[in-house]
Symmetry: C2
């Protein structure tokens, strides 16, 4: 698999076209970090230090309830942005965990640098608005899907659009994301 240098810029420009100069300024502020399978990038109570873009691998974002069971709220695959935006944007302790489900690499930018880009360039300010909008509308679609389809249909639809990468991820993570027990998901699978 190849990761072209334009990958990050292209991801930004899906929402807003950038000028070369402002992109150069932005790009220099990202650093590459690497992560290994099962590594926790952010823990509950910590302030999210980075906003990420996944170059390779998979991240999950989950909530750990007081009685100890985790609920996965979302995945970030190669080519997605990632991180606990909430904690990052407000610089307050996170209620979520960010965990790598595979090894891989990501671009990372700090809050100070991101704020600088928002302050300095209207294009980035707009990108920020459109990005958050994109996340919000995605959540909305998911919410409606959850309401309008049965557990079985939901699972079928999920499997259909599930990236290759997820195929080799433990079933319990997928069950957690679909808000059901691994047993239930296993039975759903067997039913066809």
């Amino acid at each position: 698999m190849l990761y072209f240098c334009g990958m990050l810029r292209a991801a930004f420009e899906q929402l807003v076209k950038l000028e070369d100069a402002e992109w150069a300024d932005a790009e220099s502020r990202f650093k590459t970090i690497s992560f290994v399978k099962d590594q926790l990038l952010t823990r509950e109570g910590e302030i999210e230090p980075y906003f990420y873009f996944v170059k390779s691998g998979v991240h999950s974002m989950y909530y750990l309830s007081p009685d100890g069971d985790e609920t996965i709220l979302g995945f970030s695959f190669t080519g997605n942005f990632s991180g606990a935006y909430d904690s990052f944007s407000t610089q307050t302790p996170s209620r979520l965990y960010i965990q790598a489900l595979t090894s891989g690499e990501a671009f990372a930018i700090t809050y100070a640098d991101m704020s600088y880009l928002f302050d300095r360039y209207k294009n980035f300010e707009r990108w920020g608005r459109l990005f958050i909008q994109h996340i919000l509308f995605g959540r909305g679609r998911r919410e409606i899907e959850m309401l309008s389809t049965s557990a079985e249909e939901r699972h079928k639809a999920f499997v259909a659009r599930m990236p290759q990468e997820l195929q080799q991820i433990p079933l319990r993570h997928i069950a957690s994301y679909l808000n059901m027990t691994p047993e239930t998901l296993s039975r759903l699978r067997a039913k066809r």
Copy 2:
């Protein structure tokens, strides 16, 4: 109840401080509309014409499933912004309904005018980002609350922070919002 002329500006300035000139430009673009109990402001399939600010009364936003039952996704009370943001922002058909649960009034702005403000003033662009962020983080909190607490605790918490106005709204709407049948909610209430 009194609605001061500064109400709308104050709502904007909770997120970003505005200059007098830009506020004057913005304010002139809002018009006041009034609505009556049960009025549908936006229907599924329509493009949301306005972004609203509720001066008085209550709006609900709901999804109507193919088999005809509605799920309330949120309420907007006096002093809240309202509308199908998704449809408004993307100018595509709405999947949601916006309905007045009481009579009242709202400020309304069109997509063209809102876009003008975003294009023209960096402060509004930023306001847009922070506003969407606010909505997103609110949804996140609700999602976590739904996952980490039982139906009973959820209902208790909801009643506790429920604005005065909701007290006189039919139980079935609240049940719908809490994603349970009116019977279940009634039984939960009786249990204390």
